[in-house]
Amino acid sequence: MAIPIYAGKLERTWYYSYRIICALIFLFLIGPILIIIPLSFNVQPYFTFTPEMLSFDPAGYSLRWYEEFLASQEWMRSIKNSFMVAIAATILATSLGTLAALGLSRAEMPYRALIMSILISPMIVPLIVSAAGMFFFYSSINLAGTFLGLILAHTALGIPFVVITVTATLSGFDHSLTRAAAGLGANPRVVFFKVMLPLVTPGVISGALFAFITSFDEVVVAIFVAGVEQRTIPLQMWGGIREQISPTILAVATILVAISILLLTVLELLRRRSERQRGLTPS
């Protein structure tokens, strides 16, 4: 992509304007997310930069919205709920999804396309339809307004991501490795645990992360299925944004951005590890 020295004037202009266009698009992607971070430290209850903030006067900044957030019982409870539901849904989705992916990646799997379509349907069906359906159905079997109901709903929504990532890892899986291991005298169990599992693990973990974030960030189904005791962070935010955006929401948003940076880092490290292990050279 580097511009050759012999490039003409036109090419240079094109090269630089292309770079500027790209920079603007990246700004569009990341700018809005970064802008709320300083705003969450605003001492005033406004959503814009005050003159004090712009002149970097420390008096313009404060932690008051974070304090308000930490002091709020409702927010604290919603954090607990969010983590509890997301972790339970992740465990369920990952274990069921990984098993299924192992089956799906076998060449002998019957009705593969049909089953795959069913398994990833929670990703395809519009959320509002899923949410309304779950509301009726879970109400009728006394699961609406319970943790179990919300966990099952979120598990269903997270499963497609687990199935897709793990199947993708398995499809890149070099079966000559298992044959080699078997040929060298390893029994099938040893082959599975010593050869296959280590190679699949990164896929499973990234699938689990997807399932986690799906539940952690989910709001439409929660609006319909969760009761007052199951209020999660997104539900709390949804109520807050609809009623009035207190800057507390910006503080929460900043914390959530920090969480997503953390998840992103984990995922990136996993990807690198997996590439190293599978002997893929970064191209």
């Binding site: 069921l96 098993l99 109400s139 006394n142 943790f147 009623e243 009035q244």
Partner: protein, 366 residues
């Protein structure tokens, strides 16, 4: 492979069991789930009703802000035979529908509600709205308020002014439902308050109302939650907004916002409690008796400017608990404010809401 299968089954089972345990643990202590409208209104109920009751009996009150979708909630819970709400704050019109549908308990007023201090039975003490299932709580008004800073010269004072964009520029904020807006449109178009529902009952009347709304449609930001209008006014996103008088009052006294309420054409309505079917337990009866007695209803008006639904509470209306503002002049029912009200016809809306909403939504989307 089998081992893996076994492991995941064990993991799943553990997850399932621990979830069930968590769920039951939460439900163990004695509590009532009360559903209301949220914001400063719920806060007034907490301070006037719930906190004293918890202090007295130890029963916890779980608060859920779902009255906006209260009827849907009750309907689905009753249909599923799984009612988790004990008491729901609801408008009179919706209570009529719920009562007709058999979703809520019928109330024997003199048995369940406490008499007035002078011994007057409850059925004689309440100002109205005792229609079988509904327990009235407050008289409130939906009305207009403006931000003083947005109008330098003349200030709006009538419903007709709301629709006059030339004289009073700026955006308006209205609730995203037909109720109220249709009445005000007709009033602005010259229909007297007492004739509004007769006019609205004709096809031409409805068309006339929508035509009037057309004149401001492009300048309207629609709100859906009661906390939005004061917010929109203080952010100066709009210059005039419709909203609940108690919320505007709260912004005036608690947050010192420069708002002025236009009492002309206030849409007066009763709001109160209903009990979902099967929930009228002895414990709840005691609680209802407590929160609807003369003193408690008067207490609520210390926190928000809604008129108590009992005659005997009126004389007990006092000063605002936090700021010491005299509450009487802020009540929608005080004579100075009650000069040109529209009394909301709950029955008319129970019958025509489906039709009007359909037309309203179609009109909005055009």
């Amino acid at each position: 492979m089998k081992k893996l299968l076994k492991r995941s089954i064990v993991a799943t089972a553990i997850a399932a069991v621990s979830m069930t345990m968590m769920t039951t643990a939460v439900q163990a202590e004695s509590s009532l789930t009360v559903v209301s409208w949220g914001g400063s209104y719920s806060k007034s109920q907490m301070r006037a009703y719930h906190e004293p009751w918890t202090a007295k009996t130890g029963t916890k009150i779980l608060h859920e802000d779902k009255s906006g979708t209260g009827l849907a909630g009750i309907r689905s819970q009753v249909e599923a035979n799984n009612v988790s709400w004990d008491l729901v704050d609801m408008l009179e019109g919706n209570a009529m529908i719920a009562c007709d549908e058999g979703l809520i308990e019928e109330i024997n007023y003199d048995e369940i509600l406490a008499p007035a201090p002078d011994g007057t039975p409850a059925s004689k003490d309440f100002l109205g709205g005792l229609n079988g299932c509904f327990i009235p709580q407050i008289y409130y008004a939906t009305l207009f308020a403006y931000n003083d800073e947005m109008f330098k010269g003349e200030k709006p004072s009538t419903i007709a002014d709301i629709f006059d964009l030339e004289k009073f520029p700026g955006k308006r904020s209205l609730e995203k439902i037909p109720a109220g807006n249709l009445e005000w449109a007709l009033m602005a178009d010259g229909v007297a308050a007492k004739d509004i529902y007769d006019v609205l009952s004709t096809e031409e009347g409805v068309t006339r109302a929508f035509k009037k709304l057309d004149t401001i449609k492009d300048s309207v930001i629609w709100w859906e939650a009661g906390a939005q209008p004061p917010q929109l006014l203080s952010d100066k996103e709009v210059s005039i907004a419709s909203g609940y008088n108690g919320r505007f009052f709260g912004a005036q006294v608690n947050e010192k916002q420069p708002f002025t309420i236009i009492w002309d054409g206030q849409l007066a309505e009763i709001d109160g409690w209903v009990v979902p079917k099967g929930k009228l337990t002895p414990e709840l009866k005691k609680y209802i008796k407590f929160i609807t007695d003369t003193q408690r209803l008067a207490d609520q008006s210390k926190y928000i400017s809604y008129g108590p639904a009992r005659k005997s509470s009126a004389s007990l209306v006092d000063k605002h608990a936090d700021t010491g503002v005299d509450m009487k002049p802020h009540m929608p029912t005080s004579p100075a404010n009650f000069t040109n009200p529209i009394i909301k016809n709950a029955e008319w809306w129970a019958n025509n809401n489906d039709d009007m909403s359909e037309r309203f939504n179609a009109w909005l989307s055009k």
